[in-house]
Amino acid sequence: MEEESELQQVARLGSNVLVDFNNGDRLTFARLLPSASLKVGNSMCSLAPLINAPYGSAFELQRGSLVQIPPPLPADLAEAQAALNPPADSMLCDEPRGRDNRSLVDDNTAQKLSAQDIDRMRTDCASGKDIVDALIANSSTFHNKTAYSQEKYKKKKQKKYAPFLVIRRPSTRRICEAYAVKCPPKIGFMRMDTVALMLSLGNVGAHAEVLVMDMVSGLLTAAVVERMGGFGSICSVHCAAKPPPLDIVGLLNLTPSMANRVFRVSISELTSALARDDACGLLKESPHTGSAQATTDTGVCLDDDNNKNGSENGTEGLNKNAKPSADDDLNIHKEAEQAMCIDTKQTSGGDIEVATQGEELPVAKEDGRVEQNVSAKKRNSNAARYGRKPDSEDLSHWVKHGFTGLLMGAPEYEPWSVTQILLPLLSPSSPFAIYHQYLQPLADCMHELQVSRMAVALEIVEPWLREYQVLPSRTHPHMQMNATGGYILTGIKIAPN
């Protein structure tokens, strides 16, 4: 526990960190190796100064290297934020009277400082803030601008001359938020509140034995691993011959004891274990429709080609690279290479030890612009290992006692076709939560569950999330809102009669 809470609070050598530039302009995952570097502003900087800094620490660029600074305070940031995000039609509520943009002329003579002046300040080691202040002091138009334009000016100059970054622990919540903005198809268009609900609905906690079907890049698996903190087990089940990638699990800083609790198994291994157990008469249950499929040996109804509908939603390709392979174990560690929706390229000058791991996730800003500053690096071969193969004892234990919960995020498959195979693997009274981006497949699945009387407390829920800006005289919902976080079908399995 000691080791674990420590890892939670301080970025250590080898830790993955989430780097937040200029308060949300750009998010990047990086791995803190001694040789790691990252592009900040226009220069590549070593990430070494980040090692051993507590999460939440802020840094800025001074003479080409990162130097720790006190984290910028929201009092200042909030002002900037508000000014940049004015209420509709730019009616700032407390704009001093008579100040507007009517006399603003852009003739490039407003700034009295020359480029040389600025360069001199930089070599004199002035902080970014000093430079921005000097620019403002020497601007003849600044004081006639509206508060909105002033802040825009300040922010632009600050980004150029004083970029700062804050390091964050890559938690599932933050990873989900980053993916939801940059590459939502990779996570099946789930939102952080959707994942949160699923964890609750699935009764995920220490000592649970959770069955997870994760075709959302490891988001669900990561969320479960994090919530269970090394107690209990997570069985990540897949149906194609080659398991889908769980990259997101690799972004967490898992302790060995946590990583050790993740198992990967194919659906056929589980169902044949169940069939063996059934034959011994220990568990007498099989859903009327599912049993025939459940006892066949391979991918069952879950053949890739049969399920290639709905491709316009962007989920196609999630599993396309799945090629049959004899050796599951090897694949699990190689899979991290695929499935990033962001262009990656090698760092220049990086030796084999690889600068940073993971990918860059530029994030849309309030006004909807996206910073496309991609500079991600090759993965480190030491990436956290996740997903070992269960031994036969684990398997027979699960089959005998059942899992305590089921979470499913498999946008490509018909929910009912999977549910009827997986539900018999739950112990009675265990809850399940099945995610889908569309409502209809869940409605079908819910109807089948109602008719077959396999579960009670059946419900489809749709999470809804809205963020607000709260500032004096400027409180309103955010302009941007992710309109859908999908749907969750939930219920509690009951004992067969």
Partner: protein, 329 residues
């Protein structure tokens, strides 16, 4: 209520267990199993003694022939069945708070007020078995009732309840610098914020739940004043859907039927009001609109549309959730 290590797991109901008696999604009740006692509801009279030894999730019948299901308690079910001594938090807010605060086994979290313990129960699950929830309410009776509930649900090793005016006195000094997270559900949360700064560790997280935007505004001012960073405000809701299978008629059928009726009226045959399966207008044999002929030639009810619609009564607003991080020095 909390999952036990694999070796200690027990799947059958025993004397003294809390079970959730499930009738319908909106009719559930927590019952402590005591052989000798009976439960009576609209489905009959049930002897607790008959439940013992059955697995959780089983269906049991009453003397009158009706049945209910007996479920193992979870924090979600508890939120549905607990006695409302105050307003409570529901699953949408609860799940979001726990995820956003990044609680996990071993976390230390303080909460005020305890209220009916709806949130507390979920907090306990997320920090168990090695973490703790310190919860405070200035209402002694509520604190006591909540404590009894926590004991009943086996949370006594995880949750510590105390009677304390957190707006007036803040959190106890013994917690200073120790906590990973603080949660406030108080009428004037800004009064507790100076104390939250003290008990939170560096970069620790705070959440405050308030129904009114004015409360949020005052809290945000206090948070900025106390150098909290990353202040974000959310509203979360959850819409519930029900699913039904319905048969919708294609309009062509109606038109055809009308034509046929008119035709037969002309011949003064079958009376128009009589509902019968009529021959199609084309003269070919056809079945009733909601039946199909299977390959064996049997007539079966045609599967309808599975249609989902939101349940009409939904919460439109619960409160705003304000999050912030303690300053990293």
């Amino acid at each position: 209520m909390l999952a036990r290590p694999v070796e200690e797991r027990r799947e059958t109901i025993q004397e003294g267990d809390v079970v959730i008696v499930y009738e319908r999604h909106d009719r559930m009740k927590a019952v402590s199993v005591r052989s000798g006692e009976e439960l009576s509801n609209r489905y009959g009279i049930f002897r607790h003694a008959d439940w013992i030894g059955n697995p959780f999730g089983c269906k049991v019948s009453g003397k009158a022939g009706g049945f209910v299901h007996l479920l193992a308690p979870t924090p979600e079910l508890w939120t549905c069945v607990l006695s409302h001594r105050t307003q409570i938090l529901y699953i949408a807010d609860i799940s979001f708070v726990i995820s956003y605060l990044e609680l996990r086994p071993g976390s230390l979290v303080a909460e005020s007020g305890t209220g009916s313990g709806s949130l507390t129960t979920s907090l306990a699950r997320s920090v168990a078995p090695t973490g703790h929830v310190y919860t405070f309410d200035f209402h002694e009776q509520r604190a006591n009732s909540a404590r009894q509930d926590f004991v009943k649900n086996g949370l006594e090793g995880i949750v510590m309840v105390d009677v304390r005016d957190v707006q007036g006195l803040g959190f106890p000094d013994t917690l200073n610098g120790k906590l990973d997270a603080v949660f406030l559900d108080l009428p004037q949360p800004w009064l507790a914020i100076p104390s939250a700064v003290k008990v939170l560790r560096c970069n620790g997280a705070l959440c405050s739940f308030s129904p009114c935007i004015e409360q949020v505004q005052r809290s945000c001012e206090a948070l900025r004043k106390h150098k909290f960073t990353d202040i974000r405000i959310f509203e979360v809701l959850m819409r519930t859907y029900e699913v039904r299978e319905e048969h919708l008629k294609p309009v062509q059928q109606e038109v055809t039927r009308q034509e046929t009726l008119e035709a037969s009226e002309d011949k003064l045959s079958s009376p128009p009001h009589k509902k019968v399966c009529l021959k199609g207008g084309t003269g070919q044999a056809s079945e009733c609109p909601d039946t199909v002929r299977t390959c064996e030639g049997l007539i079966r009810k045609k599967p309808g549309f599975r249609m989902a619609k939101p349940v009409p009564e939904t919460r439109g607003h619960t409160g705003y959730l304000t999050f912030a991080l303690a300053y990293t020095s």
